[in-house]
Symmetry: D2
Subunit: 338 residues, 4 copies
Amino acid sequence: MIVILKQNPDKSQLNNLVSWLNGKGIDVHPTVGSTQTILGLVGDTTHLDIDLISALDIVEAVRRVQEPYKNANRKFHPDDTVIKVGDAIIGGGNLTLIAGPCSVESEEQIVDIAKKVKESGATILRGGAFKPRTSPYSFQGMRGEGLRLLSLAKKLTGLPIVTEIMDISQLELFDDVDIIQVGARNMQNFELLKELGKANKPILLKRGLSSTYEELLMSAEYIMAGGNEQVILCERGIRTFETYTRNTLDISSIPVLKQLSHLPVVIDPSHSAGRADLVPALSCAAVAAGADGLIIEVHNDPAHALCDGPQSIRPEAFDKLAKKLWKVSEITKLGGND
Amino acid sequence: MIVILKQNPDKSQLNNLVSWLNGKGIDVHPTVGSTQTILGLVGDTTHLDIDLISALDIVEAVRRVQEPYKNANRKFHPDDTVIKVGDAIIGGGNLTLIAGPCSVESEEQIVDIAKKVKESGATILRGGAFKPRTSPYSFQGMRGEGLRLLSLAKKLTGLPIVTEIMDISQLELFDDVDIIQVGARNMQNFELLKELGKANKPILLKRGLSSTYEELLMSAEYIMAGGNEQVILCERGIRTFETYTRNTLDISSIPVLKQLSHLPVVIDPSHSAGRADLVPALSCAAVAAGADGLIIEVHNDPAHALCDGPQSIRPEAFDKLAKKLWKVSEITKLGGND
Amino acid sequence: MIVILKQNPDKSQLNNLVSWLNGKGIDVHPTVGSTQTILGLVGDTTHLDIDLISALDIVEAVRRVQEPYKNANRKFHPDDTVIKVGDAIIGGGNLTLIAGPCSVESEEQIVDIAKKVKESGATILRGGAFKPRTSPYSFQGMRGEGLRLLSLAKKLTGLPIVTEIMDISQLELFDDVDIIQVGARNMQNFELLKELGKANKPILLKRGLSSTYEELLMSAEYIMAGGNEQVILCERGIRTFETYTRNTLDISSIPVLKQLSHLPVVIDPSHSAGRADLVPALSCAAVAAGADGLIIEVHNDPAHALCDGPQSIRPEAFDKLAKKLWKVSEITKLGGND
Amino acid sequence: MIVILKQNPDKSQLNNLVSWLNGKGIDVHPTVGSTQTILGLVGDTTHLDIDLISALDIVEAVRRVQEPYKNANRKFHPDDTVIKVGDAIIGGGNLTLIAGPCSVESEEQIVDIAKKVKESGATILRGGAFKPRTSPYSFQGMRGEGLRLLSLAKKLTGLPIVTEIMDISQLELFDDVDIIQVGARNMQNFELLKELGKANKPILLKRGLSSTYEELLMSAEYIMAGGNEQVILCERGIRTFETYTRNTLDISSIPVLKQLSHLPVVIDPSHSAGRADLVPALSCAAVAAGADGLIIEVHNDPAHALCDGPQSIRPEAFDKLAKKLWKVSEITKLGGND
């Protein structure tokens, strides 16, 4: 950490700061210039509150050099984290396909889709029971009943299931859920993250619409600091000035997050684009860029159902896409992206 | 609502759509061009799910014409909502100053600051007990004990208090809190919003870092749809490409939100800038633009305490600023901004 | 185009508007609701100035339905535009590799790199002579002398060259340049675009840092309206809140621009990331998403030269990458992305 | 400047770097930690190319501590720059109103508006002759004839004029123009900036839609490095995710730019909002935040003319607004914003 001092800092305040830092086990190396003095802080600064130091009268600015996360940091855990649920292996050079409808709507719908995506090679079933909707007047999901139908589809197909939690109070209903999803809007719901840090199952953590890589990794750190090391990072599009697509898929997040962290990175091309016709191109791109998996919305009858977003593809399109993805994966996994 | 059809739409699908809309009490007026057909939808489209229609094969795009919120909409409630807590009146042409520390730290601290900001004209006390922090290793607030100290400060000064809730499970501790704050990161924590819709006290709803005006008003709508009409909107800076300031205060939100909605609009200049030295200029600007109130971080000893952010101003600075704000308010409230 | 009227519009103003529109060959279809009236405009609205209509007292909002560009629009030109320079074919299902240094620095440097990238399969040589630099104190390029060295490299290798123009006055020096590049910062330098509309050679038009797809296509339209139909669109990263990478590569731009327009789409992974280590992953992703080409910075000695940005890869890395890109291309071009 | 080295840097490369820096008059102070080494660079780093150093194999990151601009920097020029044209004084605690139509349309129009805004207290006349338009099919301004009519209005009213230049080749027509405006889209047209550095008249430099404060000041530096120190900075709204307003006025730019630089700061509320009804609130806010001036679009007949954007206010509205602005200015200028 670098502390840039204001011109002519008060000496006693400076001494106080240095003593305080030394007391926390940090060595302080000053660089004195003609117009500016810089303090180089050496030691474990992870637990140092940057705001505390910035608030001091003698300080102009503070810049981090080390990442503020430790459990999620590849520097301290060079090997990939590999997560296993059912037959699926997420991370470590594998390509995992997660597929299913946006919302669970009926037994027939979820079971039918589950069977079809399994045939196409998906190894995890997705489906929303609790749905975060911008409008209070929109369909809010089947909730508890939706979870029951997911369990049924799991029993019939053997596919492990991933579904979203929206509040701590719902956790007791998630016993049969294999991977708990935290949605983009809850990425910084810190009380929820702390609670999931005590859970004994993987967490799929979606990046917030305008969250930085560091913030995403700090939210993973919340879960990991509680003892749960099974976190899957998920990029699902960020908010930019461009409104033609619902969000903008940040494809660079894949190589960047995999450099910074040992956690698996999964891409959601459906929410990124908000349009079914872009899903194939974005999926291929994500695999080519080194993603560990994809989570894709698949619906058996989007046109007549009047109950699903315009971003779902049909099972046949998913099947065709999956075949292409395995081929891309073979090429780009060979030798890694270097 | 406008539905733009693809070229040569399937007739039976089109008939299905029109019947379905008619069944919901919507009149459909087609405009047939040589290369494009447009449907004009007339009626109450608030409860119509835009995604449902977009998903149809025959539809190219859907554009809203009416706002999707009703309770928060000024068109249906032309008069300003005015909220009273203690001696404070928020909305309806008043200027309300809310002030206090970022975090409650001790009895001495909160009581001392409360007394000072009251003397300067603040009519509501703010102070954080539950603190949302990006890092799990940062101070998370005094929590229950913080709420107890706020109550004490309220008793000693008579100032009503506003403080942030982070999870539904904390609600039972908020009995003595006068205004419950929902933080920016929880603006779309819909389960929490629904719960607060049943509360019998005002909610200060902060705009998310990258939430649009419409999304903010839809979150207000969640609370109001539950029966709680006392919502205060709060702009606290948005996330943009400019990183010199922590966030970018969106000053236009004031006249825009007051046009779109009857709810009071309060500005948080402290979090917007993240820097104490910008607070006076931004506060004056907010009042000049017509804000109903300000929520300002004031700390009695930011430099030595090592426990508060760089955005707090001292009580003397707050006192000086308040005097200026009343004067600006006198001029700009006269005749309104038209 | 849709015109949404304010409540109770003045009738004579409304009649004036309708007559004025009819005079321009536009049919007007009104949809009268209880609280709102909407006008559907049918006809060629490309030349209609949206601001003119928005300014009227009786108008609340105007929404475009048709795209405001015609020459660049795939609806009017369904077939891909294919551009040929030297042995390179850009567009129409081909993958074109453009490579070379950020700046031309010396005869030895540019010739050496040109030979190497040609051997690896690049069919066009890039190299900056006029360099747009944020700081007036940074190296501004070799300018005229740089163009001379590019010509020399072209003569020795047979590779056609692409290089950036920064001002109309430089155009007379570009006789031997095969493709003229317009940089991101000049994407809306309309006087320059008009002049290039008269040129008889292809233009590589880079998307501005915060330009929408529509704005990019409107800038292409400026060139095409002048008679020059050989425009290559280039995505080079957009500006977002995320500052870990220099810019954010908008991978969705590839399928979107190819849907909206018949012009070829080329990706610049070097400027998108600003980091050499991300170039391979982003390049693979771009090809997988259907890009017609890549423009990649390659330098023969980035480390010792102290004269090039951190985003250049070495010739050996380019060679290895190119081999991978052909393979990805084979898979993803097969049957298209549908 | 701080250079953060990668783990275990190559010693000979490190020695090369240190020698190279010493050769440029820079002292290097290393801070050696157990896992990381940091170099503190002391001396004038303004002319140091940050990209050169970042490109080195041994370097992980480089962070600037000093600003990269010198002529525009308040640290080196503590006193406000004050610019005089005609009766107008821009900077140094004054409030200057610049007003006039978006485009010059006719002699009658520009002369009439000039007279009216002068009566209301404007001391500089604005009006567009060369118009940057997104579409090639939109009105491009009266160009040379527009400049002639502006001169006429200047002669008849005594008001100095400000108008936009779009290309170097137009400069010869600007002899009678008092302040040359560089539009947002040309803020990084570096060839144009260099040319204006030789001009002997003030330049009103508009901030680009997505340019940082530092980039704006670097563009001012381009002009000042050429010898022209009369630069007026102009904030006109930035591009964000919020599209309800055309752009988002960055009100914080006023106190920030005035801290960083000695140059005057003028606000354009008309382009910021893109809507006439927001102009009064944003103007009051800008003055309250300490702006040195405002540039406001005023049109005598927006509704019937069908020739101007929806952001112009009428002369009567401008007159009323101006009266309010003087009053706000009196309060907020007193004692400054501290």
